[in-house]
């Protein structure tokens, strides 16, 4: 008979070493006596057992062992070793056989530990204490059923990484100082844990969120058994809540229907009808307050030009320079547009210039911010802004520069080179001011001209662009 003594608590390492040695010696489960007895959970290392070669087990078995060693049942190691033995002796898929009595029993232990871990995540309450550095320290007392203190630590570290906290339990303690986790010996229940006003507020919340017409203490106790109540401040209110519930319901049922205060619905309906922005300035304030719907962007770039302009020109989205200056069409493409307008004999100052997407979308590559085209989804999200904006400007003609602008204005993908020229844009997704839509015109975006490779080709394309602008001006 082999006797193996493991540490108190969840001695995963000790068990692993024992399994390696026993498996190497082909020792049957019946020949092993498991005992738990060495001092404390976080105390000194148990005397190292002679190591055997690693044992290869299916992943699911490893996970089950990790959980079940946390259980308080003194038989857990014997059961686990029987499982390992059978898996190593031909039953590789043993864990799939949920009806097997050993598997069934281990699954129940596993479930009990998981439940205990879950309840500790849920029912542990921190209280805030003032800390020496002027900040706050948080402290909690909890009584788990099983040896789960180490198993719950990652959850609390991840959730409360920016706080300084201590968790005390009769099975060990945890301390987190924002950088390092320290484990400590079992603790006694602290005599006084002073509460701040948040605890009082929480109690009020807990009482107020209860509906007396649905009182069902059995359902409550199934999920929150009494044994946890002592360490949850809010549970002190339960007896009074349950006791007063029937009377509260009776009072509600007996009360006469309240005589309604006369308040007229016109106000509500009027408020709803009036909430769209009622001026371009108001709309622009909203756009500035809004979060970019594309990644990047330091600020929103608003449209520019007089309301009532005969022509509105809609580009794709602000570029790097526009994003810095907060004005549309000031970068290289904007300069090209200005030159082309001059050549076409159109006064830029008389136009309304804006973009389909109001924010610069980019990815950072080193020091450079590389422009990214907006997706059709992003274009759609900005459509409400654009249509409302055009509703205020009321141009006679809207010129779309490039495919993105044409998509935003027409609501469908447009092949610019094939369809350039006049086109009707629908305005239905706007605010209804201009329900029938706009007379439109589609041409290329000046950045397209900048990208053309050959001088000859670029000259020809620029001449066509100028001709388009002339045609558009004539249509307005």
């Amino acid at each position: 008979m082999h006797t193996i003594t493991l540490r108190e608590g969840a001695d995963l390492d000790g068990f692993r070493r024992a399994v390696r040695r026993l498996a190497a010696a082909r020792t049957a489960p019946e020949a092993v006596l498991w005992s738990v007895g060495a001092p404390s959970l976080f105390g000194d290392e148990a005397p190292a057992l002679e190591n055997g070669p690693p044992v290869f087990l299916p992943q699911a078995v490893g996970q089950l062992i990790e959980t079940v060693v946390c259980h308080g049942d003194p038989e857990r190691y014997a059961l686990l070793y029987r499982l390992v033995w059978r898996v190593l002796n031909g039953e590789r898929a043993l864990l799939d056989q949920h009806a097997d009595p050993l598997v069934h029993r281990l699954e129940r232990l596993d479930k009990a530990v998981r439940r205990d871990i879950h309840k500790m995540h849920a029912f542990l309450r921190f209280r805030a204490l003032p800390a020496l550095d002027g900040g706050e320290r948080y402290i909690a007392w909890f009584e788990p059923d099983h040896h789960i203190v180490e198993a719950v630590a990652p959850f609390f570290v991840e959730r409360f990484e920016s706080m300084v906290w201590t968790i005390l339990t009769p099975k060990g303690s945890l301390h987190w100082d924002r950088h390092r986790l320290m484990t400590g010996p079992p603790a006694e229940r602290p005599d006084s844990l002073t509460d701040d006003r948040f605890a009082e507020g929480w109690l009020r919340y807990y009482e107020s969120t209860f509906n007396p017409a649905r009182v069902n203490p059995t359902a409550m106790r199934a999920e929150m058994p009494r044994k946890y109540w002592a360490n949850m401040p809010e549970t002190a209110a339960i007896p009074a809540m349950v006791r007063s519930a029937p009377a509260r319901v009776q009072a509600m049922l007996e009360a006469e229907a309240a005589i309604p205060r006369r308040r007229m619905p016109e106000k509500a309906v009027a408020a709803m009808a009036k909430q769209a922005p009622d001026s371009l300035a108001e709309l622009n304030r909203l756009i500035q307050r809004s979060e970019p719907l594309v990644p990047g962007a330091t600020q929103a770039v608003l449209g520019e030009g007089p309301e009532g302009a005969a022509i509105a020109i809609v580009g794709e989205q602000p570029g790097d320079q526009e994003d810095r200056e907060g004005r549309p069409f000031v970068g290289p493409a904007g300069q090209l547009l200005t030159a082309a307008l001059e050549e076409a004999g159109v006064d830029r100052g008389g136009l309304y210039l804006t973009n389909a997407v109001k924010h610069f979308k980019f990815v950072q590559r080193g020091k450079r911010r590389i422009h990214q085209s907006p997706t059709s989804g992003e274009v759609k999200h900005y459509r409400w802004w654009l249509m409302t904006e055009l509703g205020f400007v009321r141009p006679r003609l809207v010129v779309a520069l490039g495919a993105t602008a044409a998509l935003a204005l027409s609501g469908r993908p447009v092949s610019v080179l094939r369809e350039r020229g006049p086109m009707a844009f629908d305005g239905r997704n706007g605010d209804g001011r201009n329900g029938d839509g706009w007379n439109g015109f589609v041409t290329v975006h000046p950045s397209y001209l900048l990208r053309l490779p050959g001088d000859e080709e670029r000259r020809r394309a620029q001449a066509e662009f100028v001709a388009d602008l002339r045609r558009a001006a004539a249509l307005a």
């Binding site: 949920h98 009806a99 921190f126 959730r159 920016s162 706080m163 009082e200 509906n211 009182v215 809004s290």
Partner: protein
């Protein structure tokens, strides 16, 4: 946290307690790290239970219980005489962070009565979420109850910060909505659901963040004359057409300051329970609304037994089912066998022929499943499913046993 804030908290938590749609699951796992606060694990945690058996996982409050609307089922309606209060954005942020740090909650569920205008209200709610996320690095769960009448751009903004958006339909049919919530418009509500669904789908494709835990809604049951069948038909449509994650059913509950239009007596809470069971069958067990409704009478579910058992009793010719041969779809239709038990049966029977004793270890609902099963060592004699008293034999007596 001063007395006035505690007082407001009492009023605005009380005003929010009738909203059932308050889960905290489905968010992508994430963490606030060294500078921020909080995490989500995907599953959500119930941090306490109230004596009504409901889980407390989020700080569920209204921004204000002032309201321009006059929906008869709602305690916060314009014509009600309840005490009114209003939080500032900063107060909601303070409460959320304070309770979160004490491990009382998973995050915030924020709803609101409508003040000034729907846009104004929605913007304040969005600002709460934005402040929490951007200024405090808050990584906990945020659920915003959308104001359907708000402008589309505000709902887009809200979706950037929230884990879940929801829009309460409240009443299953358009004519009830018209009668009970005169300023509300079923068309508007569904249009917003459509918009939110579209954004969620797009964001998934483009790997952006927009209400990643989906959207949900609540239906109030028993305030109008809608049958269970029509409630479930509405749910079926919502799941299919708008991709809703959950539909919550809230049995109309007596409220102080009740309107005289409402029924005096609340519906039995059991009705709500049966609807949840039916909803489950709809989503995870391959049942159609038609099949579920056929288990009851006159469009109402049987209050005495669960809808799966009700369906099985009316379709006895399809039983008993052999646990060692039947396919998953049919096993899922056996009363007493849940999806987990069915999966265990399927994996265990690859290795062995299952006997009754084995099934006892795989399912906790065997008592109810028994008449509908065949196992290696068990064939119901003389067609137990034909017995007329089967229903009685399976129903737990509902009255409590006397101690004397």
């Amino acid at each position: 946290m001063d007395d006035a804030l505690i007082e407001k908290l009492g009023i605005l938590a009380d005003a929010a307690k009738y909203d059932a749609s308050c889960a905290s699951s489905g968010a992508k796992p994430r963490s606030g790290g060294k500078e921020g606060l909080g995490s989500t694990t995907g599953a959500g945690i119930c941090h306490a239970y109230t004596p009504d058996g409901r889980c407390v996982s989020l700080l569920k409050i209204l921004l204000t219980n002032h309201c321009l609307f006059d929906c008869v089922y709602c305690i916060n309606r314009r014509s009600s005489n309840v005490r009114r209060a209003r939080f500032t954005v900063a107060e909601v942020v303070e409460l959320t962070l304070g309770f979160y740090k004490r491990n009382c909650i998973e995050g915030l569920f924020l709803s609101s009565g409508i003040i000034r205008s729907p846009d104004h209200t929605m913007e304040q709610m969005m600002l709460v979420a934005r402040t929490l996320r951007r200024d405090h690095g808050f990584a906990g769960y945020i659920h915003l109850k959308t104001i359907p009448e708000a402008s589309p751009w505000l709902i887009e903004q809200a979706g950037l910060w929230a884990d879940r958006l929801s829009i309460n339909l409240e009443l299953p049919t358009d004519h009830s909505l018209k009668a009970f919530a005169p300023e509300k418009n079923g068309g508007t509500i569904k249009a917003v659901m459509g918009q939110v669904n579209e954004r969620i789908v797009e964001a998934k494709e483009e790997r952006r963040r927009f209400s990643p835990a989906g959207q949900s809604t609540q239906l109030i049951v028993g305030a109008d004359d809608a049958t269970d069948r029509s409630v479930l038909e509405t749910s079926g449509t919502l799941y299919q057409r708008y991709g809703l994650r959950r539909v919550y059913y809230s049995a109309f509950s007596p409220i102080p300051e009740a309107s005289s239009v409402l029924p005096v007596k609340p519906p039995p809470l059991q009705r709500e329970n049966r609807l949840y069971q039916a909803d489950w069958l709809l989503r995870y067990y391959g049942f159609t609304v038609e099949e579920i409704a056929s288990g009851g009478e006159g469009g109402m579910l049987d209050l005495g037994i669960d809808p799966k058992l009700a369906w099985a009793l009316k379709n006895r010719e399809r039983f008993p089912v052999d646990v060692n041969r039947a396919d998953r779809e049919m096993l899922l239709r056996v009363p007493g066998l849940g999806a987990r038990a069915v999966d265990k049966i399927l994996s265990a029977r690859r290795h062995t022929r299952l006997r009754m004793e084995d099934l006892g270890r795989l399912s906790s609902g065997l008592r109810r499943a028994r008449p509908f099963l065949i196992a290696a060592d068990y064939h119901p004699v003389g067609g137990l499913t034909d017995r007329l008293d089967l229903r009685q034999r399976l129903v737990t007596p509902s009255s409590q046993l006397s101690l004397f």
